[in-house]
Amino acid sequence: MSLVDFVVLIGAIVGIAGYGVWRTRGRRGLSHYLKGDQSTGWLVIGISVMATQASAITFISTPGQGYQDGLGFVQNYFGAPLALIVIAAIFLPMYRRLNVYTAYEFLGRRFDSKTRLLGAALFLLQRGLAAGITIYAPAIILSTVLHWRADATILLAGLVVIVYTAAGGSEAVNVTQKYQLGVIFCGMVAAFIVLLTKLPANLSLHDALSVAGAFRKLDSVDFSIDVNRRYTFWSGLLGGFFLALSYFGTDQSQVQRYLSGASLRESRLGLMFNAVFKIPMQFFILSLGVLVFVFYQFEPPPVFFNAAAWESGVRRDNSERLHSLEQRFALAHAAKRQLIERWLDARRSGDIQTATSARAQALEANRQSEELRTEARKTLLAANPTAQSNDTDYVFITFILGHLPHGLIGLLIAAFFAAALSSKAAELNALASTTTMDFYRYIVRRQAADAHYVAASKFFTVGWGLVAIAFALFANLAENLIQAVNIVGSIFYGVVLALFLVAFFLRRVGGTAVFWAALLAQSLVFVLYSYLRVSYLWFNLIGCAACVLFSLVLQAALGPESERAEALPKT
């Protein structure tokens, strides 16, 4: 990175954070601190909901998914539009009528204290874990490729977000997310345009798509009913529906965003904005990865995209197998490039027979290249057992640093940090709100002035921020990072969602039945996750269905009388 890149990076990040602190100075009320000024329009709500979900991992890791596996990951989001409709039609009016601070407060009003605390505790557990991942992921990748200290990067990003979130609360999160998403959008569009200009001059967009299609990178909708496949239309539609319903409808980091709307109408439209644009956005990010794949068919790619891990392995590899693999991969790539060019030339000249033959040979050459990459990963792991063997998270950043002009590199790095800060800020805000309203005010100190609870919220914001930083400093994740976040979510979300579905639709079920049903269902999900080899998206459905079923059975066993005899106070 050059001085220009650093100026762009620091200017964008510190400028937006500073603006957030300045814009929200002097705000004192609890409602204002936790829910904003409740005058937010639908576009800001829509942007805020989008920015909360789209963390830095989305923009760093998803193009790598596109590069490696093509567009198939987009199916993960197929359930989101339908889930957002359900939330806008049913969940949102209820939250607004009750004027709740947190989604779990609703559980307390519908059921009882212990169910409210269980819902809040499940949220804090899974979101607390994810908060660590969302700060760890960009920091570890950026520090590796930019040769920054990982701990210093984590601390710096963590402290910036703690300062403006603690200072300005929910409103600071909203106003900064607007500009952060602007930086992200500009950066990604600029990268897309530059990427198109970097493709060979004689390669049309049709040719580029043909290359991507031939290597099955455009396979986006798989109607297979095989539950072992990670991404299919059905797992995306059903599992994704329950994941999105739970995430957008019951996760406080999202609920808090749309509760800040000026009216039910503004909040609803903000959600519908996401329902329309969520799939196109993910498609666009994955397409970047697919285009990077096409680019690297004509430019030599590294055999392993995590250069730091590779160099470390080369230093340890006494037999020089890694070096040899690197050379073989370069030769295989050159041969593949020639075959692709021959195929495209033959197709342009109408020589169908040569085109068909060259295309088949190029596919075979690609298979051999992939085998060399797999062998390289295994050899690297043998030479350095602590090395990360998954390099897909490094694909996009390697392309950026190697092929984008200075200034734009700074903008893209700023975009990654902006995404990290925007999702982290919403998470800290939600974790602090839940801790304050569902635990501190509910259990520890029920009667106090607003200023006291605002101070407590600030304290919990800093506390959760430090927990996330500590987790990030000691984390070591092997999975592709965006999948790691979704897996953690899928383990807990189904049961949390069931608590709300029972609350909304099964009016005969009371607090005691749903409480024990949730504990049973969560235990079942833990056990099944250890033994069942199915796409993690299905655990959303399994957890939800199990909890609903157990609730009905337990309520039938308890009978209506025992439910009424419950001694726990209602809120």
Partner: protein
């Protein structure tokens, strides 16, 4: 304080406040009711899936 089951899950606002008439209107020029907004969103989703399938078929 709101008692459970009596107020939640019903059409009546539990806090006694009447629904704001402004919330019933979408404020959109072409989609006047919320049902039409939801249908529009669903159609957008279906269109995206069809386009993705078409992209896959054309270039595979």
């Amino acid at each position: 304080m709101i008692s459970p089951d009596d107020s939640i899950g019903t059409d009546d606002p539990p806090d006694g406040k009447p629904a704001d008439p402004a919330d019933e209107a979408t404020g959109l020029p072409w989609l006047k009711s919320w049902l039409s907004v939801y249908v529009f969103v669903t159609m957008c989703f279906v269109t995206w899936v069809v386009l993705l399938v078409a992209l896959e078929r054309v270039f595979s």
